[in-house]
């Protein structure tokens, strides 16, 4: 009976995820019956599945909004304000991604595509909710495996297949690192429960084995963050897969990667609350260097790209570097919390990045999607609204006012600078320098849209859902500039600084 009770209690913590997974099951089970043997379906099936996915997400949002933010642990799950924040972020991104996918999904595979997306979202949430290494790993795999399918379903040509296979192999390889690191961790402390690890680590003196274990975990997760030198797949894959998949890849792996790091790293240093956590000496300096390299490499290589999706892949790498700044400075004595800045930045970046991919999808013409930067030429005259929304999103990514991206970068900069250490100062300066480098290629895209003449006249394809997603993202980016405080408060609560 107590076991049953505990199970019941644990299930109570994951209602939004149960809703998502249940929808996934329904979609996978029902979909084959709606498709004939030759892959023929009634047209417009994707609209029905899209509505279903959105409804499911809205139910999850409803359950999330109703869930308490107070800390409660049950079984393998922990529900606290950090998990609350990540969940909210995932669900918002999920709704935007569903809109992007809506236009691009094929009628015959729409159900599977949407189901994979929902499963990925649930996986991200599980990582944030886990109180156990096994849970974290399962969550990570719940993200990875549907991703392979989603990438494959998105586009049906050899480039997509090659990209998918690449992602599949390398992702498995990185998972192996994570698992190996976790094995070391388990070997050292003899438990997989995170709370228990924290208790052990608080009393036992730090051991070299711990560093090996953590470095392996960090190396494995860096693949998801697209941190240098684990970033190589990103340009090839972003270029190869459908833009809905690139949108997903640019955001959710980062969210899940940072969620896993923020769940695992602090407990290994014996700290219970994120508010007190800061990475210890050797690991910290390695993370600093990874962050610096990631920022520079991403931006420098992005400058020379002529393919928009490849450019955005490198920009996504650079953004991972910015975010790592927030992770590295931790929440130490400084006035501005690093973790809170990180969470704020991920949110802004996630929304804006998805919006940009959506708009790129919407800007393409029927037989010629946007690939090279030259394809964007003259967009301000042919599709003025899209060009404007895209400009807002690009401003958001480059961190220029009046967008939330500016506030996000400002927070990260203040966090790094106010840490007061030499590392912090270096990071702050590198961050600022990279923001300038990055502005060069973002502004070039805007310049192409506004000042260059369009070379081709194509019948534009109408993608209303992508429009809506892009519009929401652009509006959100502007709103976050005018009223950033609520998100900042939420991020601070999630970082354990503010009790909410």
């Amino acid at each position: 009976m107590p076991a049953f009770k505990e199970l019941n209690q644990a299930a109570g913590l994951i209602i939004p995820e149960i809703i998502l997974i249940a929808s996934v099951c329904i979609m996978f089970l029902a979909a084959p019956f709606l498709v004939s043997e030759h892959g023929k379906t009634s047209s417009g099936l994707r609209h029905r599945w899209g509505i279903f996915a959105i409804l499911s997400l809205l139910c999850a949002v409803y359950a999330w909004a109703g869930a308490p933010m107070t800390d409660s642990t049950a079984g393998p799950f922990i529900s606290d304000s950090f998990a609350w924040f990540v969940r909210g972020l995932t669900l918002i991104c999920g709704i935007l991604l569903t809109l992007v996918l809506w236009d691009q999904a094929d009628d015959s595979t729409a159900a599977e595509s949407f189901a994979c997306l929902l499963a990925i979202l649930a996986g991200v949430n599980f990582v944030a909710l886990s109180n156990d290494l096994v849970g974290v790993f399962l969550g990570l795999e719940l993200v990875s495996i549907p991703t392979y399918i989603l990438l494959y379903l998105g586009r049906n040509d050899w480039m997509a297949k090659e990209a998918t296979i690449k992602y599949f192999l390398l992702s498995i390889f990185s998972s192996a690192f994570v698992l190996y690191g976790m094995a070391w961790l388990f070997g050292m402390v003899g438990t997989t429960n995170l709370s228990a690890i924290s208790e052990k680590a608080a009393v036992v003196a730090p051991h070299a084995m711990m560093r090996v274990a953590l470095m392996l975990v960090i190396a494995g997760l860096s693949f998801r963050l697209t941190a240098v030198p684990f970033h190589f797949y990103a340009p090839d894959v972003f270029q190869g897969v459908a833009s809905s998949s690139s949108a997903m890849l640019s955001v959710l792996p980062k969210v899940v990667g940072f969620a896993a790091l923020l769940r695992i790293l602090p407990v290994c240093f014996g700290t219970v609350s994120l508010a007190e956590w800061e990475p210890a000496a050797p690991i910290k300096s390695i993370l600093v260097w990874i962050a610096v390299l990631t920022m520079f490499l991403g931006n420098i290589l992005a400058m020379r790209q002529t393919n928009v999706l490849r450019l955005l892949a490198y920009s996504s790498i650079a953004h991972a570097g910015y975010m790592m700044v927030g992770l590295v400075v931790g929440s130490s004595a400084g006035a501005t919390s690093g973790v809170a800045s990180l969470l704020f930045y991920v949110t802004v970046y996630g929304v804006v990045s998805i919006g940009l991919f959506a708009l790129i999808a919407a800007a393409g013409s029927a037989n010629r999607p946007v690939r090279a930067t030259a394809d964007l030429a003259g967009l301000s005259r042919t599709r003025p609204v899209i060009a404007f929304l895209m400009t807002v999103c690009l401003f958001g990514l480059s961190g220029l006012p009046p967008t939330g991206g500016f506030i996000g970068k400002l927070n990260l900069f203040l966090a790094a600078w106010s840490e007061g250490t030499q590392d912090g100062r270096i990071l702050a300066i590198v961050l600022a320098a990279n923001a300038v480098i990055a502005a060069a290629y973002y502004l070039r895209l805007i310049g192409v849209m506004y000042f260059e003449q369009s070379t081709t006249v194509d019948e534009p394809v109408v993608r209303p859902a992508s429009w809506v997603a892009g519009g929401i993202a652009a509006a959100g980016s502007l709103v976050l500039f005018v009223k950033p405080q609520w998100l900042w408060d939420a991020a601070k609560a999630a970082a354990g600084i503010l009790s909410a």
Partner: protein
Amino acid sequence: MLEDIQQLVLWAIPAAPLLSAIVTALLGKKVLKGRSHLPCWSALAVSFVCSLVLLFGVLPGINGTGNGYARESIVFGFEWLHVGTLEIPLQLRADSMSAIMLAMVTGVSFLVSLFGSGYMHHDPGYPRFFAAVSMFVFSMCMLVLSNNFAQLFVFWEMVGLCSYLLIGFWFHKPSAAAAAKKAFVVNRIGDFGLIMGIFLIWTNFGSIDFLHVLSSQEVISHVHTKSPHVIPLICFCLFLGAMGKSAQFPLQVWLPDAMEGPTPVSALIHAATMVTAGVYLVARCTPLFVMAPNVQMFVTAIGAATAVIAALTALTQTDLKRVLAYSTVSQLGFMFMALGCGAAGTELVTPAVTAGMFHLFTHAYFKALLFLAAGSVMHAMGDIIDMRRFSGLKHALPITHWTFLVGAAALAGVPLLAGFWSKDDILAVLYEASHSKEHGLFFGTILVIACATALLTAFYTFRAYFMTFWGPERFPEEAGDHPHEATPIMAWPLRILAVCAALIGLAVGPTHLFASYLHKTVGLTAPEAHGLHWNIMALSTVIGMAGIGFAWMFYVASPGIPVAIAKAMKPLYLVSQGKFFLDEILFVLVVLPLRGIALIATLVDRFLIDGLIDSVGALPGMLSGYLKRLQSGLVTSYAGVMWLGAVVVVVIALILT
């Protein structure tokens, strides 16, 4: 309920012109066209009415009881961002000083916009003009309503930007584009001082909020005792900002050139909006300036120098608008002369600020009047403004004539008109300051300079008047066969302003209405009953009349005299006509060295920096050439690098302890 009304009034003052600016900018060209003045008119009318409500309704009613207006201010706003210790609120704040400024700014701007719709009729940039004017007024209102230095700085710059757009309104004329650039660049020099001052305030006070910095004597004296040089430095920096915006020596060079803009813009810049910002800043920061008597004396000295130099320059100008421009510079000098008088003793601080602000207030009306009248002359003369090419206009342009006469008389200090009372206030404060023990001699000298300048003022003002409106009737050929008097939409603002210029000084000056209202400003001490200085009044009456008399003698009775004097004192005449060669001096002292530096910088940039950058720029190319080999598209090599990366970080983690 009461609070709601206060909020509404306070927000409406800047919001209405902002809305108008946006609407006109978006719809002006396509939809509104010839009706573009309507949003601007209605917005400024709303702002003006709200300012009056604020002035007479809200502020006196804050405490609800008693005779006094609240010493406190009202503040509304919201926090824009709060990260760490950095707080950036967006707030609107009003107290007596800002209420007076707002009423003056919105009132004069409203009349100018009425005039402007007649003046600018048929201009292709009609919507652009009203969008920029609305934006200008919005910026100025926000500047006056600021509750912290950061916000003040933002709108200070916005005012500068709008002035750039308006001075360069006819940007296809090279001279207008150059004048706009000059105004912008010269202002920039002052802004440098202002922003340094703000930084100093931030580091020493730990806040840039007016309430924190200005309203508590304890805070100021605490900072002052901790480091005695800081507050004078802050005041100096702030005054540098004021010097740029309010065109004080040696930064006054931009203002006469700003005449290149449309005449209503000149009226707006000179009377209501832009140049008053510097005076307002210094008056607003009185609590700081009190702690720095040396800087106050510097303020007075600069004011006096500016006043006399500008007045001497105005003597020989032949361009009607330029005469008025130099008179503006000179009158601003008067205001600063007054503001610095607090150095002679703390009991003089309040009268000094009152005198300066009072002159600002009255000056706005008669100077707007003079400029609009000059605009009316220009309109009638086919855009000719050189006084040598027309004369005797008093019969052809009767309304312009008598309104200009009222304005000129007010500026010259004819008894009972607006300028008389405020200039008399300034002279009285200087007179009292000259009796102080410490700096008596200094302020005595300044008083003499001020009297001399007042004489010159009366002279050059009426010189312009006589040259334009008296003598034989002559028109330039550009005017056509018969010059036309101002249309009603231009004439009515002139009439209204003339009535204001005539009566507003009498209404609020000797009755102490202005003084007792202004004293409620945060940071000023309670008013002291001080009677009228009959001796000063008599003196300034004599001076004013003498100046007018001389002008009559020189330019009406025996026109040979000025020519003879000019011949006799040729060098001095040339100095005055050449505007003291300040443009040339600044060119040699500032522009040439800067150009030299720019040349060196260009060379360094082109050869050294570019070389470096190009090699750095080549670095990504080389790097990417190398990295491209890694980015081979082969999964095995990707996996290999990942494996290598993991090994490296693990090894580093083990080596570093």
